[in-house]
């Protein structure tokens, strides 16, 4: 029971920090911009974490699903004249449906076949965004997505047209997805996924319907990725195919792996590192990109469990050293 209370406190504290950042940076719209962008990417990153970290499925085309969410949301708001919330919901559902359509055939494949087919799916989706000019605006994309209307919460009015307002809206969606991630991981369903990750054959022999579990998590993951994509589109008020290309697919995988796949905070940490930090440093210069590549290489070789894993190991070692010291003192 105590562990549960601790977890609850940690959750409330985390949510409070996420919300308080808005207040702390109320007067620096640039920081808020970078933070909102980070949240928009943290959502698809958590979606991918459900697959990559918790189920052991590497999907190399996940920004494609985010793209479906982004385009559907953008089209409904821009051409359909729908409001923000229903458009975003439709985008999420469309991405989830695409997840089912892709998942049914592809999830039968195992190991490296699955990885490369998801890569192919991501590229095909990018090429569709890029070439279906009549629908997606082609390479130019869809600019001029209308801003969402303000929401009257009774006690206060949330105005997404102001940077703080949009940050708070994005933070709410982010925390919701974080809660879904938490709830899922700690459910029976989540434990079955972990069993599949560790040994698919054994899981099947213990009565886990492997395909149904994989399909459910793949569809959910695609839907959440679509949610993040839709949010990103409305935040930037434009969608362009380049945001959902091959490099972005790989980038999302990096966010998850470098942050720490299979940990709750890993994807958020990764998004801060890959979205907010380059934004703050204005990375574009060749020398800096070269060093960034070197850092990735070093990370792959030195921290096989990602940064969050590295932090946990370091914390454990520290604790181990402390207990060793106290033992020595006592004796």
């Amino acid at each position: 029971m105590r562990a549960r209370a601790t977890r609850l406190t940690a959750g409330v504290l985390f949510a409070a920090i996420v919300y308080l950042l808005a207040w702390a940076f109320d007067h620096s719209p640039y920081v808020l911009f970078a933070l909102t962008l980070t949240l928009c990417y943290a959502i698809p990153a958590m979606a991918l974490n459900l697959l990559l970290g918790y189920t052991g499925l590497v999907s190399l085309g996940h920004m494609g699903f985010a793209g479906i969410g982004a385009y559907v949301t953008a089209l409904l708001m821009k051409k359909g004249g729908l409001a923000f919330a229903p458009s975003l919901l439709a985008g999420t559902l469309a991405a989830g449906l695409a997840g089912v359509l892709v998942g049914v055939p592809c999830l039968r494949l195992r190991g490296h076949f699955f990885i490369i087919v998801t890569l192919a799916v991501g590229i095909v989706l990018f090429l569709l965004f890029n070439n279906l000019d009549w629908l997606t605006g082609g390479a130019a994309g869809l600019p001029g997505i209308p801003r969402p209307r303000s929401i009257d919460l009774g006690v206060a009015v949330l105005d997404p047209r102001r940077p703080v307002g949009f940050y708070l809206a994005a933070a709410t969606i982010f925390l919701l997805v974080f809660a879904i991630q938490y709830g899922l991981v700690h459910s029976d369903f989540g434990r079955s996924l972990a069993a599949i990750r560790q040994d698919e054959t054994l899981a099947a022999s213990r009565g886990v319907d492997v395909f149904a579990h994989k399909l459910a998590i793949f569809a959910l993951s695609a839907a959440i990725a679509g949610l993040g994509g839709g949010l990103l589109a409305v935040f930037l008020r434009a969608v362009a195919p380049q945001s959902f290309g091959f490099l972005e697919d790989i980038n999302l995988v990096l966010i998850v792996i470098v942050g720490g796949a299979g940990s709750l905070f890993g994807p958020t940490l990764g998004a801060l590192l890959f979205i907010a930090l380059p934004e703050a440093l204005r990375i574009a210069d060749s020398v800096r990109m070269l060093l960034f590549g070197l850092a990735l290489l070093a990370l792959a070789l030195l921290a096989p469990r990602g940064l969050w894993g590295l932090a946990l190991t370091a914390a454990q070692r520290l604790r181990g050293a402390q207990s060793a010291v106290s033992h020595a003192e006592r004796s």
Binding site: L52, V58, L60, P105, C106, R108, L109, R110, G111, H112, F113, I115, I116, V117, L119, A120, V121, I123, V124, L127, L128, N130, N131, E200, T201, F246, I250, V253, L254, I257, V258, A261, S286, V287, M289, L290, F292, G293, L294, A295, L296, L297, A298, L299, A300, L301, P304
Partner: protein, 294 residues
Amino acid sequence: MGVTLTALLEQIANGTMMGAIYVLVALGLVLIFGVMEVLNFAHGVVFMAGGYACDFFFVHLFGNYPAVVILTMLTLALVGLALERAVFRRLRVNVPMQIVASLGLILMAQNAAVLLFGPSALQLSVPTVHSLIRVGDLSFTVQHVVVIVAAVAAIVLLQAFLHWTKLGIALRATSQNPDAARVVGIDPDRIYRITFAVSCALAGLGGALLGPLFLISPQMGDLPMLKGLTAIVLGGMGSIPGAIIGGLAIGIIEAVSTLFISTDYRDMVVFVILIAILLVRPWGLFGVRVRGEA
């Protein structure tokens, strides 16, 4: 459909040339995957390095193209040895970290190319690009023929190496069963080194052959790498004949498809076919169905 025979033959010639390039990339990928179970997503920048190395040697050392191509292959073999030793040997079982390391290598190599050779693409002017061969209404550059002949030579030599030399047989043995190979006294580390060297030399050959026809740019290896990956999946991940047929088929299919549909969708055709084939044969066209694998 107003597709003339000449246009069709022309696209088949183009497709065979591009297919030969894809085969060179695919062979490297399939060797590394078959022996080490490593997917080298950075194989595209090895290909790109081949293009730049070829250009550098041709301009600064000597103007003999065949000699330059061989020198390029040797250089890339050394690069392969370094990559295996420093990076991929340690990441053999960790697929996610292979992806991270590959992207690190891609960023390093592409930005290093920009820093060393400038941001604009290079044009390598080899005599064989400027002379044309005419057969009836068909015309293509001598370089097309050079690419195909060089690729065929590389494939034949590779097969001879794999089947008739002790080292090649040891390599195939390691790929079939690493533990059994160790039992009969094969040093797997040595095999991994050789596999990487050969694979990178083949990718370097691809870059050196394609460089003069297209432009040499930091991104020149991206699409060949993706097509090479597609080729080895089509071929069944681990089958060398599968990789050869897969690579050629992709080159010809995408070239011929441009006669019927917009070139915008050329790259899509290949990936859609890949998905469609895996739906019917989840273990690839030439792969063997392994229990628990497909």
